[in-house]
Amino acid sequence: MAITSQPSADGQELTIFIQGRFDFGAHQEFRDAYERVNVTPKRYVVDLQGATYLDSSALGMLLLLRDHAGGERAQIRLIHCSPDVRKILSISNFEQLFHIA
């Protein structure tokens, strides 16, 4: 499990990259990825290209990020979702809370 994050040049957007299994084991790393940065981004992107698996704790972690990013006002995009990941997100109807691409 490796989670990294990269702010955009203007500091407005933070992209979080997920590698491997996205489950409870990634909890601390995922939080660090958006809490331990020196920027205050307006938008967040979670890049799931490298995510092989996603479980309900990962959905919980996404909700924590949403909360951190302002709850109802949060702007979060989930990108590069594989069909499996997309299916899990859609069963939980997370498209109501996140932009999924």
């Binding site: 919980g60 972690m61 909700l63 924590l64 949403r66 069963i91 939980s92 109807n93 997370f94 809370l97």
Partner: protein, 575 residues
């Protein structure tokens, strides 16, 4: 300040013994001495030294035997034994280690090496002590945790299983430790005799997953018993979980409202895999899709309580499953998956065996136990085959007056959002004599209310409901008209009077609709078996008297009861 290291020296030569005692004593250690093996084990038993320097060859009992006995006495604690020996053959040295020795020191003694060995052995001894201490601590914690879990599970079982999972129309499969997987299964009879069923799956594992189950179960049972509707219960559960759970913890859930009389099921699915409604006759399989976010995520203002309605016939079955079913893995790490599940459905010939076949397919697939599976089958039975459930109510112990009447008028804005039935029922159940007929009362109130609202106020035509398609159409139309309702009313008039030593309740329900031809309606219902019209027939069967105003705009039902017979224990108390 820890006590200084205490070292026992067992050596038969007095000169060597003195020499060693002096060297060791000068290092600041406490010294005990013994002249042979027997004396050594006696001193060990009495003084419990931390370490032993042991001569191999001694009279009475040699060092090998003494070492064995001392190791035995020491048990799990490490008491290092360093053999003092002039033996040099490897076989003899090996014998020292076999007897439990940890090291040896060759004569003549070198002060520096002796001290280094004592220090090394002391480190080893402390390490062992720490390991044992931590092992015991972990064991204690673990026992504590297991005990807490046992207690939590016992309490939870009382709450969660107070329902009717054992009803003859339900079959289920659930790990005994499901609570700590965050899985939850609830079922309860409604006052009307129908049934609410909930399958829930909290995020995560262990205590955090279990913690939300209790309030959820309380809301489910409490509100179901009081006659609240599916949507109202879901709303309350969502609000409660949202309020008490931390962000990121939520509950995927499917909830069913099964009505045996009206032969319909209402389904709300938020975040669980597709459930299935399987028709007995055609074998058709209708997926019950997740259309909502799980419970505990959205604010009440955004929560969506819209559900789907399907007509059901006797023998139709509903299957609900947790994602543990689809994620059951085999030894190769492959998931069972939806396709295999649907394969089991497709291969099934006898509907009655399907539940068992799914179970078999799962255990054959996973090989060995890896039990994180919740699966429930609910079928529609004839009402008569189900046990009659008593209503739960809180008793103030006081007699409620028997001579009163009260009227309510619910107008459009209220009809849109509010379900008056639980309030009316609670009021009537204050009257002790009515409690035994609580579910009958509820059923009658519910039928009269929905007739007044749907056909009277909103003018819906029940003949639409003659087939499954019309049925769906009917409920779509109902939703649309209700949302746009801007005038109209439903009135309830409850009148309670003593009658001899007993009493009588009359309920009059009136609506703002145009009324209908009472005579024709009664004739039509007498002649045919419709998807519609079951409601009125039921009311006429259940109430003691039932009559319509000639214009069809109001209906009056009556319940009466004879003089009260006090139960024997009450009589005793009064004497």
């Amino acid at each position: 300040m820890p006590s200084p290291l205490c070292i026992l020296i067992a050596e038969d030569s007095p000169a060597d013994r003195m020499l060693l005692a002096t060297i060791v004593g000068r290092q600041g250690y406490r010294v005990l001495t013994a002249g042979n093996g027997l004396e050594a084990i006696m001193i060990f038993a009495r003084e419990r030294p931390h370490m032993v320097l042991m001569d191999a060859l001694m009279p009475l009992m040699d060092g090998f035997e003494a070492a064995r006995r001392i190791k035995q006495m020491a048990g799990e604690e490490l008491v290092p034994i360093i053999f003092l020996t002039s033996l040099t053959e490897s076989e003899a040295l090996a014998q020292c280690l076999d007897a439990g020795g940890d090291d040896f020191l060759a004569k003549p003694y070198n002060r520096v090496i002796l001290d280094a060995k004592i220090k090394a052995m002391d480190r080893l001894r402390r390490l062992q002590a720490t390991v044992l201490e931590q092992r015991d601590l972990i064991a204690r914690h673990n026992e504590h945790l297991l005990n807490e879990q046992r207690v939590a599970k016992a309490v939870f079982d009382k709450v969660a299983h107070s329902g009717c999972l054992d009803a003859p129309n339900i079959r289920y499969l659930q790990s005994p430790y499901a609570l700590f997987n965050g899985d939850l299964m609830l079922a309860a009879f409604k006052p009307s005799g129908g049934m609410h069923v909930l399958l829930g799956d909290f995020t995560g594992h262990g205590l955090p997953a279990a913690i939300g189950a209790m309030p959820l179960a309380e809301v489910f049972y409490g509100m179901t018993a009081k006659g609240y509707s599916l949507a109202e219960i879901l709303r309350e559960m969502n609000a409660k979980l949202k309020r008490i759970l931390p962000v990121g913890v939520f509950c995927c859930a499917v909830m069913l409202n099964l009505s045996f009389q009206r032969r319909v099921v209402e389904v709300w699915n938020g975040g669980l895999p597709d459930g299935y409604l399987r028709r007995l006759g055609s074998g058709e399989r209708i997926p019950l899709r997740s259309r909502h976010l799980p419970l505990g995520i959205l604010d009440s203002s955004c929560f969506d309580d819209r559900y789907e309605i399907y007509p059901m016939e006797t023998g139709d079955r509903i299957f609900l499953l947790s994602d543990g079913v689809l994620e059951t893995c085999n030894l190769g790490g492959e998931c069972f998956g939806e396709e295999r599940l649907l394969g089991v459905f497709a291969a099934n010939c006898q509907p009655d065996l399907l539940f068992g076949e799914i179970q078999q397919a799962l255990s054959a697939f996973r090989g060995e136990a890896q039990d994180d599976v919740s699966l429930i089958e609910v079928s529609l039975m004839e009402q008569g085959q189900l046990p009659h459930s008593p209503l739960i109510f809180s008793d103030s112990g006081q007699d409620f007056p028997l001579d009163w009447s009260v009227g309510f008028e619910f107008r459009a804005e209220t009809l849109k959002h509010f379900n008056p039935l639980p309030y009316l029922l609670q009021l009537l159940l204050e009257v002790q004599e009515l409690r035994l007929r609580g579910s009958v009362l509820y059923t009658v109130l519910a039928e009269l209310y929905s007739n007044a609202l749907e056909h009277g106020v909103m003018g819906l035509d029940s003949s639409l409901k003659r087939d499954a398609q019309g049925f769906a159409e009917y409920y779509r139309e109902r939703r649309a008209r209700l949302a746009n309702l801007c005038d109209g009313y439903v009135r309830f008039h409850l009148d309670l009077r003593p009658e001899g030593a007993g009493g009588r309740l009359s309920i009059r329900v009136e609506d703002s609709g145009p009324g209908f031809d009472v005579q024709r309606m009664l004739e039509r219902h007498a002649s045919t078996e419709h998807l519609s019209g079951r409601g009125l027939k039921l009311v006429r069967q259940l109430a003691d008297r039932c009559s319509w105003a000639p214009d069809g705009r109001s209906v009056c039902v009556e319940f009466s009861w004879p003089a009260r017979h006090n139960p024997p224990d009450c009589q005793l108390a009064q004497e």
